[in-house]
């Protein structure tokens, strides 16, 4: 293999690795929205629990806003983590609580990141529909 060919191969390898590391810049997250017929406190707790289940560490916790971040992990190919997932709560009609779940992915390591919006909403729905066990 000639010097130029070797350089081309190495450049190709690094270009591929760079693509895997960075991924493709994703479109702006429109989030997923839902409404729960539950008290605000219960929905807030469900949001915190749901973020915990997907591996987030809670970074901000206000009465109407919860934000968590998934820890980055080095991997053999792409690794994972680094997403910031937020849940915004708002008063909806008829005493219900509206939620807006959004995932912010980073450019670096984007290939190993995923959109958690639906997973968080599903987990909140599951928790809020499960009756607490009797003591």
């Amino acid at each position: 293999m000639s010097l130029s060919n070797s350089r081309n191969v190495i450049a190709l390898v690094f270009a591929t690795l760079a693509m895997l590391m960075t991924g493709v810049a994703s479109a702006a997250d429109k989030g997923v929205q839902g409404t729960f017929d539950q008290p605000m406190a219960a929905v807030h707790k469900a949001a915190v629990d749901a973020l915990t289940v997907i591996g987030c560490t809670i970074k901000k916790e206000d009465p109407a806003y919860i934000e968590g971040k998934r820890e980055r992990k080095v991997g053999v190919f792409v690794g994972s983590g680094g997403e910031t997932v937020s849940v915004t709560l708002s008063d909806a009609a008829a005493g219900k609580v509206g939620v807006d779940v959004r995932t912010a992915r980073t450019f670096v390591g984007g290939a190993g990141q995923k959109n958690w919006d639906q997973s968080v909403l599903d987990e909140m729905t599951k928790q809020l529909s499960t009756p607490a066990p009797a003591n």
Partner: protein
């Protein structure tokens, strides 16, 4: 540059990858959350009973939700046994005597294998 040199470069990349697997691409997160009343923690070496199924046969009260989240890259699956020490630690910090209603939720994100364990910390009504 000749082929043997390219081989060294590829070898170095593979070695770095293997080093990556062996060293620190696993994460653990955990927490407990009281369900209602707060209780003082137990000592770090206090016994905690673990019920993979069933519940204690003595009167108890559910006092805390316990969460342990493990992630490992390189297609290495985390196991419940790896989560157990952290689960017991969280139970002690919550003042629980037993861990019940354990739910394991394995999942995968590309090469990252995930295990989330949710459980309930139970406190015996009468002193042990």
């Amino acid at each position: 540059m000749h082929l043997p040199c390219l081989g060294k470069v590829i070898g170095a990349v593979v070695a770095l990858s293997v080093f990556g697997i062996a060293g620190g691409c696993a994460t653990t997160q955990s927490r407990y959350e009281f369900l209602a009343d707060h209780y003082p923690p137990h000592a770090a070496d206090a016994p905690v009973e673990v019920f993979r199924s069933g519940i204690p046969q003595v009167p108890f009260k559910r006092i805390a939700r316990l969460d342990v989240h493990l992630e490992k890259s390189g297609f290495v699956k985390p196991t419940f046994e790896e989560a157990l020490p952290e689960l017991e630690k969280q139970a002690r910090q919550a003042g629980a005597d037993a861990i019940i209603e354990i739910e394991e939720r394995p999942s995968q994100i590309l090469e990252t294998m995930v295990l989330h364990v949710t459980a309930t910390g139970a406190r015996y009504v009468n002193d042990r």
